[in-house]
Amino acid sequence: MEIRTILWREWLYVKRRFWRVTFSQMVSPLLYFVTFGMGLGSMVKMEGQSYLHYLIPGLLAMTTMRNSYTSVSTRISVMRLHEKSFECYFYSPTRMYLLAIGHILAGALRGMYSGLFIIFLALISGAGLSWSGWLLAAVFLNTLIFAAIGFLAAMMMESHYDMNNFTNVVITPMSFLCGTFFSLENIPVFLKGLVWLMPLTHTTRLIRTLSFGGPVSWPAMGICVLFSAVLTACCIWKCYRE
């Protein structure tokens, strides 16, 4: 019941700002697509393929990641710190685990929606990607993980400045360093360990392999499921603590 209520409320929010939501999530991937994909793409080859072809799965991972993270973190931090409307959940008979799951799901769905634009870019650029249920599952896991990170961050921050700092210090570097734009084989050794700890590295690799028609990597899938389960558990814990 709570999950449906939260999804309904988030749907009303998106419906009311549909064009703003849609256009704002198109800007960054379109810029990366034009500058890196179309500009540099013709001059560079990556892991034996054209750079444009290589870039699209990375853009898919990064766009769905950023939109699921931003949609949840912004909504929760505004509701919690500015509107204070988040406390309605606490004096109503809302089950805390469903509160966390509802918001994470809402964020994941926003992330999936932003992925539609990348699919459109892939189609018009002729980057023939191999679409499958496993690829969708990998993208969905990616959105779940980052919606959970967004939820957790927004629940822990005490001001909008803290939220902004977290995005700048953690999310932005992650979106560039985790193999979205380049192969991780070439990164310096001292960064490798750090990069492997980041969830986006695993989801990007998984999404890229599946996009190119490769087999499902069960260890990578397992790591992604583990990340999403642990982060969701942390979100639930934080809701009970709040």
């Binding site: 019941m1 709570e2 449906r4 209520t5 309904w8 409320r9 009303l12 929010y13 009311r16 700002r17 509701m79 509107e83 204070k84 409307s85 406390e87 309605c88 959940y89 606490f90 004096y91 109503s92 008979p93 809302t94 089950r95």
Partner: protein, 281 residues
């Protein structure tokens, strides 16, 4: 009946609520009065489950809030001090959202919100987004939302702050009607006239402790039912008397402009306010 047993809450080194025990019988309209920082909001937040007490417990009809939170929360409605409506949603959507959180059926939500919005004069703006409402309308919506699930207990934390006198009167009228229906209402306010108009019981709180509890009439009688006011050396002086005859006798002795009037709850408030700025006696 609401029972609070030895409630304590600290924030760091600041003890906001110190060992508060109280009982609120069903059907009471209780006013919680005290200066800023007295602990009113902290106490209400503990009673409504928004804050976990450091020690002590709150019971509603014998059910402890901490062990029966889901059940207890269904029987309470809360209107916070700050406007915590979802500003992106319309009036009707805010009502529906709250109704859904209380697991009400769609028809129940529609009937209840129609009735409440009509009573509070919000029907004409039910499709308006909350951020486009006036302050008074937002306050009314907060109260309507708190009542959507028809709770037995209603907690109102300064519900009329920052609104015009007309809207305030409308809210008073509405709350009096709710009280007549048998609801138990707990109100904190800085408008002492509001407490005097509405409440049949008042608790005075300061420094995290409740130190007086009685009906408004009882509290007034305690300090003196009549007040003599006069100017002496360009300063307003006041004296309190238990009966009108004593007050009149005093005015006859004064050789300066003076007046006698019945004491109010506001006089009780100031009586217990220390002469120094800030705390209470």
């Amino acid at each position: 009946m609401i029972v609070c047993k030895s409630l304590k809450k600290s924030f760091g080194k600041v003890e906001a609520v110190k060992d508060v025990s109280m009982e609120v019988p069903d059907g009471t309209f209780l006013g919680l009065l005290g200066p800023n920082g007295a602990g009113k909001t902290t106490l209400i937040r503990m009673m409504t489950g928004l804050l976990i007490p450091d020690s002590g417990c709150v019971e509603f009809d014998g059910k402890a809030m901490d062990r029966n939170a889901m059940e207890v929360k269904r029987s309470i409605g809360v209107a916070s001090q700050h406007i915590n409506l979802d500003k992106e949603l319309t009036v009707q959507e805010n009502m529906e959202f709250t109704g859904r959180l209380y697991r009400m059926e769609k028809t129940e939500i529609r009937e209840s919100s129609e009735r409440l919005l009509d009573f509070l004069g919000l029907t004409s703006v039910k499709d308006r987004v909350v951020q486009k409402l006036s302050g008074g309308m937002k306050r009314k919506l907060m109260i309507a939302r708190a009542l959507i699930h028809d709770p037995q207990y209603l907690f109102l934390d300064e519900p009329t702050v920052g609104i015009d006198p007309k809207a305030r009167r409308d809210i008073w009228e509405f709350l009096q009607a709710q009280h007549k229906k048998g609801k138990t209402i707990l109100l904190t306010t800085h408008y002492i006239e509001e407490a005097q108009q509405l409440c049949n019981n008042v608790m005075l709180i300061d420094d995290g402790r409740i130190f007086r509890e009685d009906s408004p009439e009882g509290l007034i009688a305690e300090i003196g039912a009549y007040k003599v006011e006069y100017y002496n050396a360009d300063r307003m002086q006041t004296e309190l008397f238990g009966d009108l005859a004593s007050a009149r006798e005093r005015t006859a002795q004064l050789d300066c402009p003076c007046s006698v009037r019945p004491s109010t709850l506001e006089d009780v408030f100031f009586y217990y306010t220390s002469k120094e700025v800030g705390g209470w006696k």
